[in-house]
């Protein structure tokens, strides 16, 4: 019986591997239907930004980015709703590590500047909202570990605003462009760059807020408290 199941599983695996190989063979055999880099280079001038990746993310395929930020916001809300609300302002989380304090004094201002630079750099070189948001959130995590009070992370208006801001502004731009007669998420000519800049800025704040809220809302385990400084 066991031998039979092993043989069956092996046969199924081999069949799938064969199908996969066949599909790869077919794809490799047929020529590429469109020349994506060429298409991108031709239309880059119309996108409002100079960096091709940003042009794809925020203009040509901004629908994907809109859905992405939606997923992030939902994940953030789920994380917060699973948290014990007391841990959002838990004074016990403060550490008295002098190294952390020294690091924090040097790193937090640097990281804030870096986040701003990454956001701005997105227009003509690698960078953009996601990277800037992650750096912003990381500096928030550092401040949190140092016990700096961050009132805006308590459940309230500011937290809700911060979480929803990016998605709301993005959606508003999308709907407004749809109502103005153009397609969903088609920026009006001439306004592409300012609109992209506004969207990137609010996205940065929202992404940082979601990531930071996910970290802060993680439950604090009382029993493990003495080991705090050991692994953070």
């Amino acid at each position: 019986m066991r031998a039979l199941s092993v043989v069956t599983m092996t046969a199924v695996c081999l069949a799938f591997a064969g199908l996969l190989g066949l599909a790869v063979w077919h794809i490799a055999g047929s020529p590429a239907p469109v020349n994506l880099p060429g298409l991108l280079a031709e239309n880059l001038d119309a996108s409002g930004v100079e960096h091709p990746i940003t042009a794809v993310l925020l203009n040509f395929r901004s629908y994907d980015t809109l859905l992405e930020i939606g997923v992030l916001v939902i994940a953030g809300i789920a994380g917060i709703s699973m948290a014990k609300t007391t841990s959002l302002e838990d004074p016990d989380l403060r550490t008295s590590d002098s190294l952390l304090y020294a690091l924090q004094r040097w790193f937090v201002p640097l990281m804030l500047v870096l986040a701003g630079y990454l956001l701005w750099a997105g227009s003509d070189r690698p960078g953009g909202a996601f990277q800037a948001g992650a750096v912003l959130a990381a500096s928030g995590v550092m401040m949190r570990l140092g016990g700096i009070p961050m009132d805006f992370l308590r459940p309230g208006v500011l937290l809700r605003l911060g979480l929803a801001l990016g998605f709301t502004v993005f959606l508003l731009v999308a709907v407004a462009s749809a109502l103005a007669g153009e397609a969903f998420l088609a920026y009006p000519a001439g306004f592409a760059k300012p609109l992209i800049l506004v969207i990137e800025t609010v996205l940065t704040f929202s992404i940082a807020m979601v990531l930071l809220a996910l970290f802060v809302s993680a439950p604090v385990n009382r029993a493990q408290e003495p080991e705090e400084g050991e692994h953070e």
Binding site: G127, G128, Q131, A134, A138, V141, L211, F215, N221
Partner: protein, 85 residues
């Protein structure tokens, strides 16, 4: 030649850390290996000439996910299945 050598070492290190993440019995060690894997992955993206993804991987994949996983590991009492601390 030297580029082939570097790429080969990178692939080898990636595979080693990936196996270490999956095979580790200690949750804390697995998370540390995951962070190392994320940083190596960022290097791999740079080698593939995708600096955008490298930035995102380093910041989100290695940095913030690592912090979140460390938090989760601590909450689980990070030696489940391994030796008790």
């Amino acid at each position: 030649m030297i580029e082939w050598f570097l790429d080969g070492m990178l692939v080898l290190a990636l595979l080693t850390t990936a196996v270490a993440v999956l095979a580790s019995r200690n949750l804390f060690r697995a998370v540390v290996m995951f962070i190392a894997f994320g940083l190596l992955m960022a290097l791999a993206w740079v080698r593939l000439q995708a600096p955008d993804i490298a930035l995102a991987e380093a910041a989100i994949g290695a940095g913030l996910t690592g912090v979140l996983l460390l938090d989760a590991a601590r909450h689980l009492g990070y030696s489940r299945g391994g030796r008790p601390e």
